[in-house]
Symmetry: C2
Subunit: 290 residues, 2 copies
């Protein structure tokens, strides 16, 4: 086993060149990241586009070959793909390599990261950003700028590995926030996965009624409330399934609020209705300033 000093700006290999991975490559290049930036994608055309756009120095279609020389491996595939790729990453990454993931849920992934071979340096991560458009075509060097980037160090994570992760977060203009995986998953279920589920149910409810007029009238309120329903299905399927219990708990809590609104309306209890609308208005309005 060679001893590898962890560089704070090591050669980075990004696994997955979709929206998140592609944006990371562009952001690192724009920030003048000193190490090489390579990527693994199963799609040679994506790699060619990324190489010709100078987003990466070199592309690999083979995971083992791609991760072999990197000082830092960043996993940017959907959650369940990532979980399937981890053992192979573990077999082929060099000693001392930092393994950072960008999966949207953390408990399951951090447990899998903890099982990586000794000698590797895993850190969990989740940048709090995204958009509906998927794929490298939608990648944007500014996607991470000003956004929070959650880091979940494991018991085995070394200070040096965490410093490397911080350096990458800083380079792309994001703000690091160190969190426990369980606390992360509970909170993102509330503010990301639950809103997604609501938007899906909203779109499907309106679609089921088959009233073309509703779509004609759909104004900004509907567009905003339903926006996340346009998210990538593969990504979100993985997210919901890998954060299933939290999402179910929040759906229950949400259904109680909905029932309470319905009851106030049904009973024409104006005071109760006003209380609920005013409470939401008071909590939500300050976010517009942020």
């Amino acid at each position: 086993m060679r001893f590898e000093q962890i560089s704070s700006t090591p050669d980075v290999c990004i696994v997955g060149l979709g929206l998140m991975g592609g944006s990371l490559a562009l952001a690192l290049k724009e920030a003048g990241w000193r190490g090489r930036v390579t990527a693994v994608s199963r799609n040679p055309r994506t790699l060619a586009a990324a190489e010709s756009g100078r987003a990466i120095d070199r592309g690999f279609t083979d995971l083992a070959a791609g991760v072999a020389d990197a000082g830092m491996i960043v996993l940017a595939t959907p959650v369940r793909t990532l979980l399937r790729q981890l053992p192979e990453v573990g077999r082929h990454a060099r000693d001392g390599a930092v393994v950072l993931d960008m999966g949207s849920t953390k408990a399951e992934i951090c447990a899998a990261l903890a099982d990586l071979p000794q000698g590797l340096e895993p850190v969990g991560g989740h940048p709090m950003c995204g958009k509906e458009s998927a794929g490298f075509e939608a990648a944007d060097a500014n996607l991470y700028r000003g956004k929070m980037f959650v880091l979940c160090p494991l018991a085995r994570t070394t200070a040096a590995a965490l410093r490397s992760a911080h350096a990458l977060v800083d380079a792309v203009g994001a703000h690091p926030l160190v969190l426990d995986p369980a606390a992360h998953d509970r909170a993102v279920a509330a503010i990301s996965h639950l809103p997604y589920a609501l938007a899906v149910a909203l779109v499907n409810a309106v679609a089921a009624a088959d009233d073309p007029l509703a779509w004609t009238l759909a104004a900004s309120g509907f567009r905003d409330t339903s926006r996340v329903a346009a998210s990538d299905v593969d990504m979100m399927l993985d997210v919901l399934l890998s954060n299933r219990q939290n999402v179910m708990d929040w759906l229950q809590a949400y259904a109680r609020q909905l029932a309470s609104l319905y009851a106030a309306l049904s009973e024409q209890d104006e005071a109760a209705l006003r209380r609920q609308l005013a409470a939401a208005q008071e909590r939500r309005a300050p976010l517009n300033a942020g």
Copy 2:
């Protein structure tokens, strides 16, 4: 009874100088509306601000005095205020005056408009726009530009009155859409009042859990999905109560969709979950292009 020819750009009196009324005044002035633009507000400071900003030619705190000379009266107060004001408008408006409202629900208002004294020329209206910020301070000359403006002619509405309403819609840059009040109310319950109710329940569910981390992490998905929860409470209380049955029906339809998502998740039925996410994605994504 004097005979009044309906001018296509008559003197307009706007009742209520909040976001909607204030924006209408600014838009008419910017469009070079040939008639006078006056307004009624209970707040003399709002009137002074509108006069000094040249949004209106003259302000009135007294409803009767304000509407007396107008060739067109546009009601821009919350739904239930508007319903209370209509009889007084009926007593003081001059013969031949067009009475257009901008209330968010139409069945109840159109029924009340139909009861106005003969000699008046009522038309129901609802511009499909808005924002969370309320009040004249938030008024914007471009609020109506490119937006749909629903018009609901009554059985008694004359062609001349409808032409006046069209002229006003054109002047502010909106697109007129003539609709039946019941069809309007059913559709806006789906695409405006239901999203609002969902956003309120979402914010209240997250607030009830009292997890500060959720608010810290609240990213763009949560912000968009919950945006309309910051809407003006008085306005929305009136909207929900005056479109109660439609909103309740949609809440029921929505709850069925939500239950179906929950069931797929609970049973780990990946195929059913994927079907629901994909259906929503397919319906929602095209709206991003619009």
